[in-house]
Structure formats: structure tokens, C-alpha cells
């Protein structure tokens, strides 16, 4: 009887520790998996850009600047060796420039009527939505993981094992930006 109690007293904390530790690992893996989910979508966007630029170029004579900016941002993004922050920053700029391009496109009815451009734009919208979904999923997992790192009792295990909180993936608010650009023309 006494032996059983002693065993329980020793074993129970160990089991709880293992449970919490595995939970933390699980959460961290989900965060990392979600981050690579964003990466996949970002790469898809990089792949589309050369096509987009070459299609647009046929119609646009006076918008060289935006196109060069987009091309150079893309080539910096695919060059690799970027920290996460740099990657986020670069992609936010890219989103911004692509939005600006969308506004300019309004002045080129022939371009808008082009079937291949329509397809490209749909694909791009698709990827934008996917990026935004991936980012929100990542943030949801980060929130879950960070809660575990901060909340009792899992924070004890997290501290012992040196788990660090993750940063949220901040994206500029595209919708607001869109409205702001639109306002300039109204």
C-alpha cells in the first residue's frame, strides 16, 4: 500500500511532465508546419510574377517603374538567405506593389480584356487569399503555442526546456491599403 502511494507520488508528476512536454512539442511542430505552409504559397507567387510582368509589358508603355520594382523584389525574394523578418518585409512590399499594379491596370482596358491576363490575375488573387489564410493559420497556432509557454502549469515545463515564444506574422492590412489607393482617384 505504502509502496503504491510512493510510486504514484513519483510517477504522477513524471507522467504529467511528459504529457505537457509532448503537448508543447506538438504545438511547436504545428507552428513550424504552418510557417512552411506560408512559404509554399509565397513561392507560388514568385513563380507567377515573371509571367505576369511579361504579359503586362505588352500593353503598358508608361509603367516601367512598377514593373521593375516588382521584378527586383521578386529576384531578391528568391535569392534565398533571408531571415524571417526580411522575408515578411519583402513580401509585404511585393503585395503593396502588386496592389498598385492592379490600380494602374484599370487604365488599360485592352489588358483587362486579355484572357491570359485574366487567368493570371485570378491565379494571383487565389494565391493572395491562400497566403492570407496561411498567415492566419500560422498566427492561430502561434497564439496556441504562446499561451502554453506563458500559462501555468505548462510554463514550468516550457521554462525548464527553454521554449521561446514565437512572433506573430504581421502583414500590412491589404484591404485598408486598397481603399486608401482607391481614394486617391475619387
Amino acid at each position: 500500500m505504502v509502496l503504491t502511494i510512493i510510486l504514484i507520488v513519483i510517477l504522477l508528476p513524471i507522467l504529467i511532465f511528459i504529457g505537457i512536454y509532448n503537448g508543447l512539442i506538438n504545438s511547436r511542430n504545428r507552428v513550424e508546419e504552418a510557417f512552411s505552409g506560408i512559404d509554399v504559397q509565397l513561392k507560388k507567387r514568385y513563380d507567377l510574377i515573371p509571367n505576369l510582368v511579361s504579359t503586362v509589358k505588352q500593353y503598358m508603355k508608361h509603367e516601367e517603374k512598377i514593373l521593375t520594382e516588382i521584378t527586383s523584389l521578386r529576384s531578391r525574394a528568391v535569392s534565398g538567405d533571408l531571415t524571417t523578418e526580411e522575408k515578411v518585409q519583402l513580401n509585404n512590399e511585393l503585395t503593396d506593389r502588386l496592389n498598385a499594379l492592379n490600380v494602374v491596370v484599370e487604365n488599360y482596358p485592352e489588358l483587362k480584356a486579355d484572357q491570359s491576363f485574366d487567368n493570371l490575375q485570378r491565379a494571383l488573387n487565389e494565391i493572395e487569399s491562400q497566403i492570407s489564410a496561411s498567415r492566419r493559420t500560422y498566427n492561430a497556432y502561434v497564439r496556441e503555442f504562446n499561451n502554453k509557454v506563458e500559462q501555468f502549469p505548462s510554463n514550468i515545463v516550457a521554462n525548464m526546456k527553454g521554449f521561446q515564444k514565437y512572433e506573430f506574422f504581421k502583414a500590412q492590412e491589404e484591404e485598408k491599403k486598397n481603399i486608401a489607393v482607391g481614394d486617391l482617384f475619387s
Partner: protein, 325 residues
């Protein structure tokens, strides 16, 4: 509003008036074939009661009468109902949207209702009517009245007792969604969280009967009203964008004002399913009383058709800027 009243005056009133005669006719028939026979039956029973009649025999007589009466009722009112629906309701639906077609006998099939995964319980009785479908802009929609029920049997001293339970009663709506996806996403009213708060949220996670895993959305108001389950966390967020969540909340508010209940939605196989619970039977004429249909009934029916067709705009389903055309 004035548009609708002039439509009512000019187009519906003549149709309603033309049914007036028919209605009087069936009221006469009701008297002749139902009320009169009932009174005669009653007299006979009262007369025979003096000469020691078995109570079970009386009961049997009334049972037969009710059975016959039900058939007679359908026979008498059937053509009138049909005419009412094919003219007045049909006209009303066309008025809401030219692209909509009405078939009062048809309904959303059980297989489609099942596909929505909104009600996973076994179904023992499935009925429906008043099927409306068509293209609104670029979006195909269909909806109808549905009653799905299941039964339970409990053993009592006198044998088994069968009880019927309503799984869903109301308008069931299906639309072609504007994005393509392959995972399942189910959005249902959140009863647990409203009752138990954070603890309710924990309870939801334990719910093993629900298809898919619990997905927490970042919109706190949305989370308060709905609980979201899905088979893919990322795709769930691809479907439920922050903008769509706002729109769903607005739609829910709008419907809740009418029916005082929350709606359920699901997103499966690039389709959107919405269940609007409703215990009143829509699109029916009156059989008793003076009028064929009251003006407020017509307005009520109109508001429901408008509400359902309006979902396309409310949820922005005609915006098709993604790869799905």
C-alpha cells in the same frame, strides 16, 4: 415598398380574386363531405348509445371517420392549393428575381441534405416542398422547405412507445460557392460557449462526435455566436476570410430578427449549405376564413423569398475573382 404594393395591387390581387370562387366552392364541399357526415355520425352514435354500444366500437367508428376525412381533405383542397402555388407564389418568386423557378412539389433531396453534414443524426422521416432554384448573377442557388425527423422507441409496461423528434424544420439553402476547396467546414451555433464561456470552449474540443477538429477563428464576435469544425485548418481560413465572417454575422443578425434563431452553415465540395430553422409552413393559402390569403401572409412569403435569394449578395457570392469561375 411602394413598388411591392403596386405589384401586389396590379398583379397579385386579380389572381387572388380569381381563386375566391374556388375557395367558396371548397368550403361548401367541406361542409357537405366533412361537417355534415360528422354531425350525422354523432347523432347515430348518440342514438345507439342508449342500446348498450361498445365504447371500442365508437372509437373504431371515429377512427375510420378521421382516416376518410384526411383523404377527403386532400381531394377537396388539393387542386385549390396547387392553383394558389402555381399562380400566386410563382408570380411572387418571379417578382423577387427573374432567374428563379418554382416547383412546389419538389424539394432538396435527402442525399443533398446529408451531404451538408449539418445534421449527422439518423433520419427516419424526410419530407419537403416548395422548391425554388435558379441563377442569381453568376451563382446557382436552390432552396426548399424541409422537415427531417427521427424516432426513438422506449419500452414501457404496455409495450413500446414511439416518439418523433424534429431534427430540422425550415428552409434549407444550397449555393455554388465562389471558391474551390476540398475539405469540409461546418459552422454551427455555439450553444456551449454561450452557456459556459471558456469552459464551453474546452468542452467543444472534447466533442468526439463532431466531424473534423475544432477551429478557433480570430473574430471574437464570430466565435461567440458560432463554433467552427473543419478537416483542414488552413483551408478553413481560406474559406472563412475576415470579411466573410463579418458578412455571415450580419446575415445571421438579419435572419435572427425574423426567426429568433441562429442559422447553421457548411462548406463542402465547393458548395455552401445554409439551414434556416423555421416552424411555420410558408407559401400556403388559407382554407377557412374569408380571404384566399391575407396581405400580410403574402408579404411574409415575399420577405422570405427575398431573404433567401439575397444571401447571394449578402455573402458576396457573385464576386468571382479567384480561379473558380
Amino acid at each position: 415598398m411602394s413598388d411591392f404594393s403596386s405589384f401586389y395591387e396590379d398583379r397579385l390581387m386579380p389572381l387572388i380574386d380569381s381563386l375566391q370562387g374556388e375557395k367558396k366552392n371548397i368550403q361548401k364541399k367541406y361542409f357537405r363531405y366533412l361537417v355534415l357526415p360528422f354531425l350525422i355520425l354523432l347523432l347515430i352514435v348518440l342514438f345507439l348509445a342508449r342500446s348498450s354500444l361498445q365504447p371500442s366500437f365508437i372509437f373504431f367508428l371515429f377512427f375510420i371517420f378521421v382516416f376518410v376525412a384526411a383523404i377527403v381533405h386532400i381531394k377537396i383542397s388539393g387542386p385549390y392549393m396547387e392553383k394558389f402555388k402555381n399562380t400566386i407564389i410563382s408570380e411572387l418568386i418571379k417578382y423577387v428575381h427573374e432567374g428563379l423557378v418554382y416547383d412546389h412539389k419538389k424539394y432538396i433531396p435527402e442525399s443533398v441534405f446529408r451531404e451538408s453534414r449539418l445534421y449527422e443524426h439518423r433520419i427516419d422521416s424526410y419530407k419537403g416542398e416548395d422548391y425554388i432554384s435558379g441563377m442569381i448573377g453568376k451563382t446557382w442557388i436552390e432552396f426548399s422547405e424541409i422537415i427531417a425527423r427521427y424516432k426513438t422507441e422506449t419500452r414501457t409496461k404496455n409495450g413500446t412507445r414511439t416518439q418523433w423528434h424534429t431534427l430540422f424544420d425550415g428552409l434549407f439553402f444550397v449555393a455554388d460557392f465562389n471558391k474551390k476547396f476540398s475539405s469540409d467546414l461546418i459552422v454551427k451555433p455555439d450553444i456551449a460557449e454561450r452557456l459556459f464561456g471558456r469552459f464551453g470552449q474546452k468542452l467543444q474540443k472534447l466533442n468526439v462526435f463532431q466531424h473534423g477538429e475544432l477551429i478557433e477563428m480570430e473574430n471574437p464576435e464570430f466565435e461567440k455566436v458560432f463554433k467552427v469544425h473543419g478537416t483542414d485548418q488552413r483551408e478553413a481560413r481560406y474559406i472563412l476570410t475576415p470579411a466573410l465572417m463579418e458578412k455571415i454575422l450580419n446575415l445571421n443578425d438579419k435572419i435572427k430578427k425574423k426567426i429568433n434563431q441562429d442559422i447553421s452553415l457548411s462548406f463542402i465540395n465547393s458548395k455552401l449549405y445554409i439551414a434556416v430553422p423555421l416552424s411555420t409552413d410558408l407559401f400556403e393559402p388559407r382554407i377557412f376564413g374569408k380571404e384566399v390569403v391575407k396581405a400580410e401572409d403574402i408579404f411574409e412569403y415575399y420577405s422570405y423569398i427575398k431573404l433567401m435569394a439575397g444571401i447571394v449578395e449578402d455573402l458576396d457570392l457573385n464576386t468571382r475573382i479567384w480561379t473558380k469561375m
